[in-house]
């Protein structure tokens, strides 16, 4: 999901938070980690650094997901504020969410996400 850098909560395995800007600048100096650095953006491999993305859950806890790559698009994208469950997120307009549509699942972009929709995860869209 294309969440802007400032909204991603990254921590090391010991719980210490990761300063993404500093990390990206440090890792730029290790060419083998650079998977892509072109007109679209920068993609760095971080799979061996024990970095986790903390995703807030409805219960107020955080789900830690291992991060293998950090992606930095080179150009800016329109950003929207959305409240999903208990979480208010800044997401890019092209971020894709999977919602329940009757008995099926459907993909919807953040710009088309409307209050009342329910994500596949069970979280409700409030605004």
């Amino acid at each position: 999901m294309a969440i802007p850098a400032e909204q991603i909560i990254l921590v090391y395995s010991d719980g210490q938070s990761v300063d993404i800007d500093t990390l990206v600048e440090e890792l730029r100096g290790e060419p083998k980690r650079i998977l892509a650095d072109d007109e679209v953006g920068l993609v760095l491999y971080v799979g061996d650094l024990g970095i986790y993305n903390l995703k807030p859950t409805d219960g107020g806890e955080f789900l830690a997901q291992p991060v293998t790559e950090i992606s930095r698009p080179r150009f800016s994208t329109r950003v929207l504020r959305k409240q999903i469950g208990a979480t208010v997120l800044s997401v890019t307009a092209d971020a894709v969410f999977v919602i329940r549509d009757g008995g099926t699942l459907k993909k919807v972009r953040a710009e088309k996400l409307e209050p009342g929709m329910v994500l596949a995860s069970g979280e409700k869209v409030y605004r």
Binding site: A2, D21, E25, K32, R33, I34, L35, A36, D38, E39, V40, G41, V43, Y45, G47, D48, T68, E69, S71, P73, R74, F75, S76, T77, D94, V96, F97, K107, V108, R109, K112
Partner: protein, 326 residues
């Protein structure tokens, strides 16, 4: 090497350019399995064999990692059956391989119907271009550029770590992350303001700021239609009102010299360029702001230096203002 169509030829050229060899095209290659009693191989004909056209790209020698690419030149969007077929092929190759790890990509410049993704994610096959929740049309050039980006990144990635890509949908998501950001790139390039040079890549204020912050000013010039700030670390910034170029390109400072119009203090009194250089050169950039018709940078937390199309301004930021007039 013979090609069935133009798309196949172009994909082959892209793969060869990206990987530098180890790329082959095989037509009517027969894949045979012992039992067809699995839903994944429903597209295999009985006797359980399958003829495929495949672009084979060797990514790594030890362990051997091979990418199998299906190039679909269709008049309409690819359907789930096309992806399902490739899922079956890649799964079969992995099942009967002798240590070689196979990944699969389906490339269809006309795009994919929504049902394709379920097959691709569950069977860990990449699709190019991506499905992003609305019907997006990418030009063939863009799709081939996506393909090249995936190949370059994948070659680097498998050298670092490959095991974590084996389990679905890790490989699908890896490919998705590499191609998803192409959306909006064309529009961004047309309306771009910040450009990284010499590459000419469309950029952002954030990247421009990261490139100049902490660097000291080494020179200030005015050329026809633009002002140029030379910074330490061979970095330059050129401001021409409608665009801001920055980077390590020495050509950026080129242009016919022009008569500078410089100002100082909050009331913008006229001054000379030499006056501004005498204060500004040697100081480090500590902040930046883009005000549209000019860009302003903070120097040593003490001065604001503005770059206009025709000259510069310099203001002391220290208080009280009256005692710190320049």
């Amino acid at each position: 090497m013979s090609f069935k169509n133009e798309l196949e030829r172009r994909c082959f050229e892209v793969a060869e350019r990206a990987l530098g060899g180890g790329v082959t095209i095989e037509h009517n290659k027969i894949i045979q399995i012992e039992s067809a009693l699995f839903p994944e191989v429903a597209s295999f004909k009985g006797p359980p064999t399958k003829e495929i056209d495949v672009l084979v790209a060797e990514l790594l020698d030890r362990p051997k990692v091979v990418l199998l690419v299906s190039c679909k030149m269709l008049s309409r969007r690819a359907e789930p059956a096309h992806v399902q077929e490739w899922c079956a092929v890649v799964q079969t190759m992995n099942k009967y391989s002798d240590g070689t790890l196979y990944f699969g990509i389906v490339l269809s410049p006309t795009g994919f119907t929504s049902g394709c993704e379920a097959w691709a994610t569950s069977h860990n096959v990449g699709i190019v271009p991506p499905l992003k929740g609305r019907r997006l049309a990418f030009g063939e050039e863009t799709v081939l550029r996506m393909f090249e980006r995936v190949l370059l990144a994948l070659r680097a990635r498998v050298r670092l770590q490959v095991d974590d890509l084996k389990a679905a949908p890790a490989f699908f998501e890896f490919v998705y992350r590499l191609v998803a950001d192409f959306e909006g790139h064309h529009e961004a390039a047309l309306d771009g303001r910040y450009f990284l040079v010499p590459e000419g890549w469309v950029s952002s204020f954030g990247e421009m700021y990261s490139a100049i912050v902490g660097r000291s000013v080494e020179g200030l010039f005015v050329v026809e239609g633009a002002t140029v700030m030379k910074l330490s670390g061979s970095t330059n910034l050129r401001f021409s009102e409608v665009r801001v170029d920055f980077g390590k390109d020495p050509q950026i400072a080129q242009g016919s010299p022009a008569m500078p119009q410089c100002r100082k203090n909050i009331d913008m009194e006229p001054c000379t360029l030499d006056f501004i250089k005498a204060i500004g050169v040697g100081k480090s950039i500590t902040s930046a702001g883009d005000f549209g018709h000019y860009v302003e940078v903070g120097l040593d937390h003490r001065f604001n230096l503005g770059l206009h199309q025709i000259g510069f301004h310099l203001i002391s930021t220290e208080n009280p203002m009256e005692e710190h007039r320049l």
